[in-house]
Every structure is written in structure tokens, then in C-alpha cells.
């Protein structure tokens, strides 16, 4: 390889590193993606420079074909289907590594010098990881897409079968070593890798899929890394191991955010969505939000209305809400409170508490005065309020609060609701606001969670 190519590889490795670094920061994420794309282009061009141009037509055809397909799907896919798309692309990446490994195997096994130990180990690893990545990603894709039930599919002896397959794989791998010429053993490896991918993903439930995809993503990085060892190529190793390692960490972070352990996720059978529909009433499907994301939502809002309720009083969260206000005002975010006339348990309950927290009177707006402003508001933060923002009061004549005027929190662009659980309010009825598409639940004691949100915001600035 020419030195220039090597230097180009070095530069693209650096670009990948910077790309990943930036992707982890809200502000720079897009720049990060561009950087790593430039790194990729550089790596491709450098590779081409070194290659025999005679095969250029085929390569061009392949690249064009792949490029068009990739671009088409990337453009067309609905935003909600992005996880599926990532799974699909990831599977293709895994399959590509798998194919390169096989290709190299067949090529080298025909050459005189043959395959050395490092080559063989790398090829076998590449087949295993690439194969698992491929079929695993496909199953994940089908589950997410709804083509296959999102429910975990479990059966007895599942783990035993996986273990046995692995043992067979190892035996076949040893046989390949001893007899590299025999394609049968390679075929066994191929089949087992593909089957393992399927078996490891089917027992995992729909809600856990993002974690699985992240893990498979990490695998595809490792597969690329193994390919790098096959081809003795640094940029593959750097990029592959970067993705491999960051993917594993990311997987763990995601598990933690879901309060699950990785083992727990992988062993499967737990993946039901969190949701607290009562036995009566309609099924409300909710979206949860974490404190970090909540902090980001505040950070990016330009207007915020807080709707305090009895839960704020119970949690004694008024002081920390004042801190939240200070953080927002530091960012020039318009910050007000919408006081429902019967919020809390006594007339003026919210007033007493907010005054105690030294929140100036002119931030507190009566219901009538603020109700029209909700639709122009980026973010409504409902703190321990329930009945006073329950749309049932407008729509459901059967509900005990029908006819009570409520705060139009649901009209805002985004609503975050801080409460401990799906527990009901004073009136004892379900609140369908919690299931609205623009509503995110921030579960936990209001004081504790908001303290964390404020902490995150302080770090951001």
C-alpha cells in the first residue's frame, strides 16, 4: 500500500473519532455526521487509488446500485420508522463483512501462500459476528416493522440450544483450521452463525429492540474490525473498534435509562412496554421521558408554562421549580405559571406555595388569562397536576369533572408531566392527556426528578 493511502486512512480514522465525539453532543451532532461521512469518502477514494482500475465498472455498478437503494430508503422512510431502517442498514453492514470474509477465504485458499493463523481466526470471527449481526438485525427489523409479532418469543431450552450451536461452531472452526480446503466446514460455520442471529433476537420483546439494535450495531463494528485484521488494514480496525466499543457503552447507557440490565434484556421475555392502564377505562399508551431529555427539551424551548397541582405541594417541589425558572430565564426562555383556580386542595394552595418559594406574583397567570396562550407555547410542564388538565372535563359528559374549566395544557407543542405513577387525581379518573402524542411522562417524585432536570441543565450551560 502506498504511504499516501496510509496517510489518508489515518486522516479518515481521525475524522471518524471526531465524528463520534461530536455525535454525542446536541449542538455538534450534525457536524459530527458530516465529518464521519467525509472520513468515509476519503477512505473509499484512497482505497480506489490503490486498486486495479480494470474492475472499475463492476465496482461502479455495485456502488451505484447500493447508493441508490440506500439513498432512496433513507429519503423515503417516515421518521417514525427510523429504528427499523437503522436495523436494516445495520444488517446489511453485517452481511457485507460476512461476505468479505468468505470472499477472502475463498480467494486466499486458492493462493499459494494460503491462509495464516491470524487470517483464519479473523475470518471465522468475521463470519460469526457478521452472520449474527445480519440475521439478528433482520429479525429486529421485522419485529419493529410489525411484520412479526413484537412480543418476545420464548420456548423451553432456548438457551441450551444456543449453547449447543456455539459448541458446534467452535468444533467446526477447529476443523476449518485443520482442513482449510474443505468448504463443508465453512458452510457449517455460515449456517450456525445465521441461525444464532435469529435465535438470540427472537426472545427479546419489542420495547427492548432499541437496545438490541444498539448491540447489533456494536457487533457490526466488531465485524468490520475483524475484517480489518483479515486485510491488515488500520482504518477498518480503528473505525470498527470505535463503533464496537462505543456501541457497547451506548447499549449499557440505554439499558440503564430503561432501568434494565443488559443480561436481563438479552435473556429476553421481559420486553413489555411500560404503561399503567387501569383495569377499567380505555388503554392509555404513554411515552416516558428521562431527566436528560427533559432538560434538553427545556433547553430548546423558547416559552414554558408550568402547571402546578396538588402533587407539587405533596412533593414540596416549589423551591426546585424556582431553580428551574432561574435556569430557563438565564436562557431567555419565557417562563410563566398557569394557576388553575382549584389546583391543590384549598383555594389559593398554589399561591401560598409559590410565594413561599419567592416566585414573583407577576409570573402567576390566572386560567382565563393564559388559556389562549398554550397553543403558542413550546413546552408545558405539568407538575403533580392531574384533574385540572384533564381533557375529559371538556369532552366526556360522563366524567365527574365534566363542565369544570381546565387549563389547555394539551394544546401546547410538547407537554411534560411530572408525577410519580399513573395514579389518579382527586376526582379519581383516568387522564387521557397522558396518552396524547405530544405528551411525555416524567415519572418520579416531583422534587427529586426536577432537581435532576435542573442539574442536567446546569451542566449544559
Amino acid at each position: 500500500m502506498s504511504n499516501l493511502v496510509q496517510i489518508a486512512y489515518l486522516i479518515s480514522s481521525i475524522l471518524f473519532i471526531l465524528g463520534i465525539k461530536f455525535l454525542g453532543k446536541t449542538k455538534d451532532a450534525r457536524k459530527g455526521n458530516v465529518l464521519s461521512a467525509v472520513g468515509m469518502l476519503l477512505a473509499i477514494v484512497a482505497t480506489l487509488v490503490n486498486l486495479n482500475l480494470a474492475t472499475f465498472p463492476e465496482m461502479l455498478a455495485c456502488v451505484l446500485l447500493g447508493g441508490v437503494i440506500g439513498l432512496y430508503y433513507a429519503r423515503k422512510v417516515e421518521m417514525t420508522k427510523i429504528p427499523e431502517m437503522v436495523a436494516l442498514f445495520n444488517g446489511f453492514g453485517g452481511l457485507a463483512s460476512f461476505a468479505v470474509a468468505l470472499s477472502d477465504f475463498f480467494l486466499k485458499s486458492q493462493l499459494i501462500e494460503g491462509l495464516d493463523t491470524v487470517n483464519l481466526i479473523s475470518i471465522i470471527l468475521s463470519i460469526l459476528i457478521g452472520g449474527v449481526t445480519f440475521t439478528g438485525s433482520m429479525v429486529a427489523f421485522l419485529k419493529l416493522d410489525g411484520k412479526v409479532s413484537g412480543q418476545p418469543i420464548t420456548f423451553k431450552g432456548q438457551h441450551l440450544i444456543n449453547l449447543m450451536l456455539l459448541i458446534v461452531f467452535v468444533v467446526a472452526a477447529v476443523l476449518v483450521f485443520l482442513n482449510p480446503g474443505n468448504p463443508l466446514f465453512i458452510a457449517v460455520l455460515v449456517v450456525i452463525a445465521l441461525v444464532l442471529g435469529i435465535l438470540t433476537v427472537i426472545p427479546i420483546g419489542g420495547a427492548d429492540m432499541p437496545v438490541v439494535i444498539s448491540l447489533l450495531n456494536s457487533y457490526s463494528g466488531m465485524a468490520a474490525c475483524a475484517t480489518g485484521f483479515i486485510l491488515n488494514n488500520n482504518v477498518l480496525i480503528v473505525a470498527g473498534s470505535l463503533v464496537g466499543a462505543s456501541g457497547i457503552i451506548l447499549t449499557q447507557i440505554m439499558c440503564k435509562a430503561m432501568n434494565r440490565s443488559l443480561v436481563n434484556v438479552l435473556l429476553g421475555g421481559f420486553g413489555q412496554t411500560v404503561s399503567g392502564p387501569a383495569a377499567d377505562g380505555p388503554q392509555i399508551v404513554i411515552k416516558e421521558v428521562g431527566v436528560e431529555e427533559a432538560a434538553l427539551l427545556f433547553d430548546s424551548a423558547s416559552s414554558v408554562i408550568v402547571v402546578p397541582g396538588y402533587g407539587m405541594a405533596v412533593a414540596q417541589a416549589q423551591h426546585v421549580i424556582r431553580e428551574l425558572m432561574e435556569q430557563c430565564e438565564k436562557r431567555n426562555i419565557d417562563f410563566r405559571f398557569a394557576i388553575h383556580p382549584v389546583a391543590g386542595r384549598m383555594p389559593g394552595h398554589m399561591n401560598v406555595l409559590l410565594a413561599e418559594a419567592n416566585i414573583s406574583y407577576d409570573k402567576l397567570i390566572e386560567m382565563e388569562a393564559i388559556n389562549d396562550d398554550f397553543s403558542n407555547t413550546d413546552l408545558v410542564f405539568v407538575v403533580g397536576a392531574n384533574d385540572v388538565v384533564n381533557p375529559a372535563a371538556r369532552t366526556n359528559p360522563a366524567s365527574p369533572i365534566f363542565g369544570m374549566p381546565i387549563l389547555n395544557a394539551d394544546k401546547a407543542r410538547t407537554v411534560i408531566v411530572s408525577k410519580r405513577s399513573m395514579g389518579k387525581g382527586y376526582a379519581g379518573i383516568e387522564n387521557e392527556l397522558f396518552g396524547y402524542p405530544n405528551c411525555l411522562m416524567l415519572f418520579g417524585d416531583a422534587k427529586q426528578t426536577i432537581t435532576k432536570v435542573v442539574g442536567e441543565m446546569k451542566e449544559m450551560s
Binding site: A313, R345, P347, V352, L353, E356, D387, G403, M404, A427
Partner: protein
């Protein structure tokens, strides 16, 4: 439809049933309003204010010609005598206590509505004068008590020594009790509260008060938010708890009511004796018999060195706010019951059923009937 507002005749009553702001609102809905001259004085609303808002101001005789008469306090027999046949009236009534008034109203086929009977449902919150007035009363009780107390509420560490904070003990965490907690707490006192309803614990604590739990708090029936019946055993235990706590209290505020019944005696003479000289009791239940054995209605007495305040009409001491809120309550109820063309009753509707006492010469209110038939 013409709405008439009479001047209150009860002693020391400074409230009035409508405020200029609310008159404006009613005028916008094309009601006619006539106010007795001088009716708003106690609340610092002048006749001019009312006129500016669009009301007619006239003598009582003119007001009695209105289709519906509004007052804060119950209409007296004299007043009923001056009312038109088949007209309507709204005020506090506590009808189960006054059968002769019901008879008088029925004799004239007057349709009467009682503000104290508004059902406590979410929809009716804006008409709930009990809440709006109790809220003010809770605030005022603390101020009155603090004013009679020979010491200040907050802790103060000064060069001339440390002033320890006052201890305030509150019975009943209903609307008035909660507001009393909030106010006493604001002023810097240490506040403790007890109530028969266990769910009030959280509410008391949400305002920074300490809740005193009666061990084994079973045997309390709660219905529609009201405490209904309390077992003898419970009362016994409660008494013990109170006995322990009341010795240290500087200010005691009692708000315990049981609807339709005489209020429970929570502070006995013995307990008063055990209190520190100079301490103060405000008995907010004095109207319905009192929670303190020694309290006297509408009087402030000193017994065993303890000042006992039996002011029966606390909201009237905050006439501006009280009238403003009452006016919103009564007008909201009125708008629920009537259009500009007259009353428009749906006798099956929950709120109407709740507030309607007499109609077409008959007592129709079931709760009142049930009490009177006992």
C-alpha cells in the same frame, strides 16, 4: 329578568350579595339589577359604583319588586312578608334549622335556593360559597388570634434574647383549617393540625404543617368530603391526644363541623384550664354550637386566663373579598338556574336538585326533609 339585592340586616354583617364587577357581568348577559341603596357600604362599594356598573339603585321597596332576590344571610320572616308571591330568592339558608322560614316561603309559593347546599362537585366549584367564605375565615381566624396573643408568631434570635415561635394547634383540615395552617405557617408559627379524615394528613403536610394522627383512626365515616359520624372510641382517643398537645399551644383554632349536626366538643373546660395563661382559642364552629365548651357566640371572653374568640361571622370581617367572592358564587348559580327571560329549572339536574329548597309551595329538598322528619 330583574335581580334584586337587599341590604343585609343581620347585625355586624358587612357583606353584600353582589359586587359592581359581577353586576357588570350580569348586565352584559342582559339581566336587570336593582340594588338597595347603601347595600354595599360595609364592603366599601358605594351606590355610585353600582350605578356605574349598570345597576339601578333604589329603596328596599323597589328591590322587593324584582323577580329574584339575592342576599347573603337567610331572609327573615319580615323580609319574606314583603316579597312578591311566586318570586324567587337565593341566600344561605341552612333550611333544616328554620322550619318556620320554609313555611313562610311556601305560603307565598316562593322558589328558594340555598347557597349552603351547593353540591361539592367539580362543576359547581365556582358556586361554592361555603368554600370561598371558609377560605377567608381561615385566614381571618389566624389574624384575629395572632392579634389577641401577647406574643409574636415567628422565631426571632435577637440581641435581647431569643423569642421562641408560637405554637398553633388547628382542629379540622377542611377549607378553613387548611387556610389557617397556611397563614399561621406564613407568619412563622409552628403549626399542628388534627382531623378525623385520614387523607388530610398529606394535605396538612403539603402546607408545611405537622399532622397529629389519632392512633387507630378507624370508625370515621366520610361522605361526599364531609365527616359524617365519628365513633365514641375515636373521640376518646382524640381527646387524649388533644389533652397532651393543648397544654403547649399558644393559639388554638377549631374548625370541626359535622354537616347537619351540632359540632363536636373538642376542647373541654378542663383542657382550657390546662392551657397557658394568655393563650387564645378561636372557635370557628361557634355558629353550630362550637368546638370549645366555653366559647360564646359573637363574643370574646377570657376564661381561666385564656382568651376565647367566638366570632360567628369571620368572612364579614373581610367584607371586600368576601362580597366579591360571594357575588361570583351566587351569580354563577343564578346563571346556571336562569336566563334573562326567567328561571329555567331542570329539576333532575344535580346542582339544581341540590340547591332548590322550596318550589311551588312545597319543600322539595330531600336532605332538609330528612333532617326535619327525624
Amino acid at each position: 329578568m330583574q335581580i334584586g339585592v337587599l341590604k343585609e340586616t343581620k347585625e355586624n354583617e358587612r357583606r353584600v350579595a353582589l359586587s359592581p364587577d359581577v353586576v357588570k357581568l350580569l348586565r352584559k348577559k342582559e339581566f336587570e339589577v336593582i340594588i338597595e341603596s347603601g347595600a354595599g357600604e360595609g364592603s366599601y362599594f358605594s351606590d355610585e359604583d353600582f350605578k356605574a356598573a349598570g345597576a339601578e339603585v333604589g329603596p328596599a321597596s323597589a328591590v322587593y319588586q324584582a323577580d329574584v332576590l339575592l342576599k347573603v344571610n337567610l331572609f327573615s320572616l319580615d323580609e319574606i312578608a314583603r316579597m312578591k308571591e311566586k318570586s324567587a330568592c337565593i341566600s344561605y339558608m341552612y333550611a333544616y334549622q328554620f322550619p318556620q322560614i320554609i313555611e313562610a316561603l311556601n305560603a307565598k309559593s316562593i322558589t328558594s335556593f340555598s347557597m349552603d347546599a351547593v353540591p361539592r362537585i367539580s362543576r359547581a366549584q365556582k358556586m361554592d360559597a361555603l368554600s370561598s367564605q371558609a377560605n377567608l375565615a381561615g385566614y381571618k381566624a389566624v389574624l384575629l388570634g395572632a392579634n389577641h396573643l401577647g406574643k409574636i408568631f415567628p422565631l426571632m434570635m435577637t440581641a435581647s434574647g431569643t423569642i421562641t415561635p408560637a405554637k398553633v394547634l388547628i382542629f379540622g383540615a377542611g377549607v378553613a383549617g387548611l387556610q389557617a395552617i397556611a397563614t399561621a405557617k406564613r407568619l412563622g408559627a409552628i403549626v399542628e393540625c388534627t382531623d378525623v379524615r385520614p387523607e388530610t394528613k398529606e394535605q396538612v403536610e403539603s402546607l408545611g404543617g405537622r399532622f397529629l394522627t389519632v392512633e387507630g383512626a378507624e370508625g370515621v365515616k366520610v361522605e361526599g368530603g364531609y365527616a359524617k359520624e365519628v365513633s365514641a372510641e375515636y373521640l376518646e382517643k382524640q381527646q387524649q391526644l388533644i389533652r397532651d398537645k393543648i397544654k403547649d399551644a399558644d393559639l388554638v383554632i377549631t374548625t370541626a363541623l359535622v354537616m347537619g349536626k351540632k359540632s363536636p366538643i373538642l376542647v373541654t373546660e378542663d383542657m382550657v384550664k390546662s392551657m397557658k395563661t394568655g393563650s387564645v382559642i378561636v372557635d370557628m364552629a361557634v355558629e353550630s354550637g362550637g368546638n370549645c365548651a366555653l366559647s360564646e357566640k359573637n363574643a370574646t371572653v377570657v376564661k381561666h386566663g385564656v382568651t376565647i374568640i367566638g366570632e360567628a361571622n369571620l368572612p364579614s370581617l373581610l367584607p371586600v373579598n368576601a362580597s366579591n367572592l360571594y357575588a361570583v358564587n351566587i351569580s354563577t348559580l343564578l346563571l346556571h338556574l336562569a336566563s334573562k327571560n326567567g328561571l329555567n329549572l331542570d329539576l333532575e339536574e344535580e346542582i339544581t336538585k341540590g340547591v332548590l329548597i322550596t318550589h311551588q309551595g312545597e319543600l322539595v329538598h330531600s336532605f332538609t326533609k330528612s333532617i326535619l322528619n327525624q
